[in-house]
Symmetry: none
Subunit: 401 residues, 2 copies
């Protein structure tokens, strides 16, 4: 992990190859009907076979009892302490829709809201208006111009959008305008320190114009901004681990996350099958592959137990395609659990598996939360997973004489 100070002295580049499959929302929780989790319900012959040959355990994404967002969940798998390394809400939202951000740009997450005649908040989410209703309003906002900065507004979904500022000398040390309750006026942006005063004025100019242009709209006559942030500068994944890493992810947010840590982001299509195709095509050019599988999380977030079971089974079918490449180390991990019964990210520990020529199995017969709690890796901070993977790949020599 990046926070292991002696890492640079003991890590070395080698020809061995590591493939890390990150199954988004991998972990689950028992169905009230059957008492079995999604993983326990799904038919997973290939993952079960891997489990029998691997060292297995459970990862703690952030801290016991804490459910992570996608940012912290992924950062910890990549070895970055998620309490120390943080990606702001504005940046993550921008990455999520594929907006490319320069290092000086500042992004905020925006959402439409409704004010009464006195300008007091009636609905902080403008009745969650649909994309159909909101996108024309986003176009209105995107036309606003403020001297000294280049402004853009990008639609996300429903009442949500991204507000992006490009220019010289911008700061993200700004407060949000959402007062977090109704019956009061939206807040003005405030500067946290002198250096942010110019950016504060630019943002408030935008808000003033937005108020004028949206006035008269019935459902959404104002907006709230939160999570002002710039793309953070993290230690490079490739430099830290002496790797030439490829990120293969169909969804923009995960490509963006990989880009923030300095992986090489590989082009691929939108399906997991396209990702596997891309893994094959690029296999000789890299020594580490982060491959992202989204559908398990998407179904879990929708509260669709059967859908998540199906998504896991669809992943299972693809495992032989990955094994055909015969990677020196195969890791199957998750950024967090997304139990269908919660329809949200959760704090549960997440199954993890490492397979190399040094693993011959822990006596664990199937790929599930319950089975993996008996594995030889035990329950450990996800942040240490990269060290395990590098050691299994022969890329890490011993620490200290």
């Amino acid at each position: 992990m990046i926070d292991f100070p002696a890492l640079h002295d003991i890590v070395d580049s080698t020809p061995s190859k590591v493939v890390m499959i990150v199954v988004d929302g991998l972990g689950g929780a028992p169905s009230p009907e059957t008492g079995l989790s999604e993983l326990e319900t799904a038919k997973l012959p290939n993952l079960d076979m891997l489990a029998r040959e691997s060292s297995v355990g459970l990862t703690i994404p952030v801290a016991p009892g804490v459910a992570p967002g996608s940012g912290p969940g992924h950062l910890s798998l990549f070895g970055y302490n998620p309490l120390k390394y943080f990606i702001g809400r504005g940046v993550l939202e921008a990455l999520g829709i594929g907006v490319s951000m320069g290092k000086d740009d500042v992004a905020a997450r925006g959402n439409f809201c409704l004010l009464d005649k006195e300008g007091l908040l009636v609905d902080r989410r403008a009745g969650r208006i649909s994309s159909q209703e909101s996108f024309p309003l986003v176009e209105v906002l995107d036309e606003i111009e403020v001297d000294g900065v280049e402004l853009s507004v990008f639609p996300v979904k429903d009442y949500r959008f991204v507000f992006l500022m490009k220019g010289k000398g911008l700061s993200d040390k700004l407060t949000e305008t959402d007062p977090q309750r109704i019956g009061v006026a939206p807040l003005e942006v405030e500067a946290l320190g002198e250096k942010a005063e110019k950016t504060r004025d630019l943002a408030n100019s935008f808000l003033l114009q937005a108020r004028r242009r949206l006035m008269g709209q019935e459902r959404a006559n104002m907006l709230l901004l939160r999570g002002f942030s710039r793309v953070p500068t993290f230690p490079s994944f490739n430099d830290s681990y002496k790797l030439n890493a490829a990120a293969i992810a169909a969804y923009p947010m995960y490509r963006g996350l990989a880009n923030v840590v300095g992986m090489n982001v590989i082009n691929c299509g939108v399906e997991f099958e396209d990702e596997i195709e891309s893994l094959n095509t690029n296999y000789n050019n890299h020594d580490f592959f982060y491959v992202h599988y989204k559908p398990a999380d998407a179904e879990g977030e929708d509260g669709n137990f059967e859908g998540k079971v199906r998504a896991l089974e669809e992943l299972d079918v693809m495992i032989p395609r990955i094994l055909d490449l015969n990677p020196d180390v195969l890791v199957v991990a998750g950024d967090h659990a997304t139990p269908s019964i919660l329809a949200a990210h959760s704090w549960h520990y997440v199954p993890v598996l490492i397979r190399s020529k040094y693993t011959l199995g822990d006596g664990v017969e199937s790929f599930s939360e319950r089975a993996f709690s008996q594995g030889s890796l035990g329950t450990f901070q996800a942040e240490h997973l990269m060290l395990q993977a590098l050691s299994h790949a022969g890329k890490l020599s011993k620490y200290g004489p």
Copy 2:
């Protein structure tokens, strides 16, 4: 552990006795033929009996995924955070051959190398020449004199030796001369800061003379120095834990390690049987005993699976001799794993057992990595083992009112 700030307030000296057997390289990995580890293959009736009566678990020597050297592996068992407390390579090598170092002395690890006519490195290890070939060359180096410092060169094994500087105002803030690749000249020693400039000049004078004296040798005509270091000053083991600890170890390096942390190093013969004899003789004079068992690591490092199995069985036979003393707390631990299939220290967690009148067994039937992963101690940082041992010995009262 030393890094537990309230330790001093809650630890107390008592008559109870703790024996900690450190089995070097204790942990292993499954044989590809049988799927069983060395511990699972060995017949260990006494250790199995202990396992049934003890609290058992697995220790993490440094961090998950990190294989430790002997220094960090032992320091963590003694409760010293191995990332914070570090013993340099030169010092450890000197300790390993029983060279006694004063607190101002600086040691480096040396090895012979071969240069071509242009002075460029052809072989960084001089073809790993045997002790027979290298020892006369060590004598040549030992004759070198440099004004203002007392120099000694001690043979270690094959192409390796220890370079020792004794004098006033020496510094170990020096760079190594090994460029880590062939085709280039050895580096000069450089000072890391002004205070090291004098020592740098002394070391480089030695190297210049060495080059002249070795020139013409066919197999080893120069040397490389690395790991310049002084004996570090650590918090005292005895003071921190309010113990009167005895170290019983046949191998010089482990006696040296115990000396660095301030244990009383007891004389003993070269076999484990001699160590047990020494434990018996000195049992009334101390309240903590570190007893080191080397053969398991030695066989593991040689990649000798059967040899390691035998070494573990030979340890097992001696266990009743230790139990005859009826120690209040018996700990069986390892500084790291040395799986025969790796023929090296590894990153695997290490079995650990604590037996006292407060342990009644975890339902674990045998002494092995897999069995102990189900133990009540779980998987924990080796650094916390001393606290467990002290509590079982009634030497640690509760923290906080």
